[in-house]
Subunit: 209 residues, 2 copies
DNA sequence: TAGATTGTTAATCGATTAACAATC
DNA sequence: TAGATTGTTAATCGATTAACAATC
């Protein structure tokens, strides 16, 4: 109902997790669920769940709870999973290939339309898409108008390339390079810093008494 | 100096980022830096930086700032990057292979000692390690005592396997499967939910006015 | 109607920021 | 000594939790 005009980052980051759990619950055949039960399953508080859902208008019914089907589909809409964002992937190395097969199968809200690499002849395209030379990217963007770029390239090259891609109409980056992009407010950036994630885990494992 | 006895999660999650930036600054030849300058570079507040560092005892000097070399090495110690945690990787598909080559080259604080798959004969080991059958994992753990497991397997199999691995002495999971593990308090879990990350980005990109 | 459970406001908690005395 | 900048405490801000009236 209401649109995302006042939604905090912590809430946004919880939405995909709600969606995952609710999809499973829906698949299990359950038709209704209360905030209390969902909270138990997800290790959250019922209060937080109701609070979160109410950012978007409230999908429940007093005395009943939430209809699983309806709630799932509402969150699906909030996350725009029905719309498929056209995306390109740059850097078809090991990681790039892994992401390709994920994106072509069950990735949510995205449509991979182009692959690019500095040395396309070295990349065996396991996917249906051919790998283009990176110099072809400007023409490709002008014609096909991708909105999202997935960066699987070495860190040093990433910031410069990102800036260029912004000028070509890219408004979102899924960044797997090990550095941070400087794109100001013209694009959204989601960093997947595997090194940071691993160091955090290492810290915790080493800290176990 | 002081040990990690009262460090909040947000602080822990910022440590790897500090480490990345400081390593770069060190490599650039700069020998001292103030909290104000570091804050500008990292888009943080100087206050937060001083606050964060003081969780561990304070590494600066009034009137001077921080010695880059010393600060970097302190954070390196805090993150235990000198210790290499012995780790195994399970599921040598596209993603598993990508992580292998990352882990064998420049991954921080980890030492990959074993690879496992349900169908090892189908996995071309691009690395120096051979791929073992997953049934060999118990014997391997008994002998080599890995502490960390990297799960690159389908979601459905992950929770059951994780539980078994806990019993084999694993105390940390780097989880790339799309479900959450239930390991109670016997192990640390760091989830890399690529789907969640992508949905968050999709939400933001679609929300741009 | 009575019971259940939401939607929503108020209270609490924790993290971030500001301020400044300590001190190099 | 004067200037700079930390370490640390206090103030602010925002997110989470608790409480309860609304209502199905």
């Amino acid at each position: 109902m209401a649109d995302n005009f006042n939604v905090s980052n912590p809430v946004i980051r919880r939405l995909p997790r709600y969606y995952r759990y609710l999809s499973d619950i829906l698949a299990s055949g359950k038709t209704r669920i209360s905030s209390t039960e969902l909270a138990q399953r997800m290790s959250l508080t019922a209060s937080q769940i109701r609070h979160d859902f109410n950012c978007f208008g409230g999908f429940g019914q007093q005395g009943y709870g939430y209809n699983v089907q309806q709630l799932t589909s509402e969150i699906e809409k909030i996350l725009y999973l029905d719309k498929k964002i056209p995306a390109i992937l740059i850097g078809v190395g090991n990681l790039g290939k892994a992401l390709c097969s994920y994106l072509e199968n069950d990735a949510p809200g995205i449509n991979l339309i182009g692959l690019f690499d500095k040395q396309p002849e070295l990349c065996k395209p396991s996917s249906g898409l051919t790998v283009n030379h990176i110099d072809a990217i400007a023409d490709f963007c002008a014609e096909r108008k991708p909105k999202l770029a997935i960066l699987c390239i070495p860190g040093d090259d990433a910031p410069k390339l990102a800036k260029k891609l912004c000028a070509m109409g890219i408004t979102g980056f899924w960044n797997f390079s090990h550095v941070e992009l400087e794109v100001g407010s013209v694009a959204e950036v989601e960093n997947v810093h595997l090194g940071d994630s691993l160091m955090t885990l290492g810290y915790k494992v080493n800290s176990i008494k």
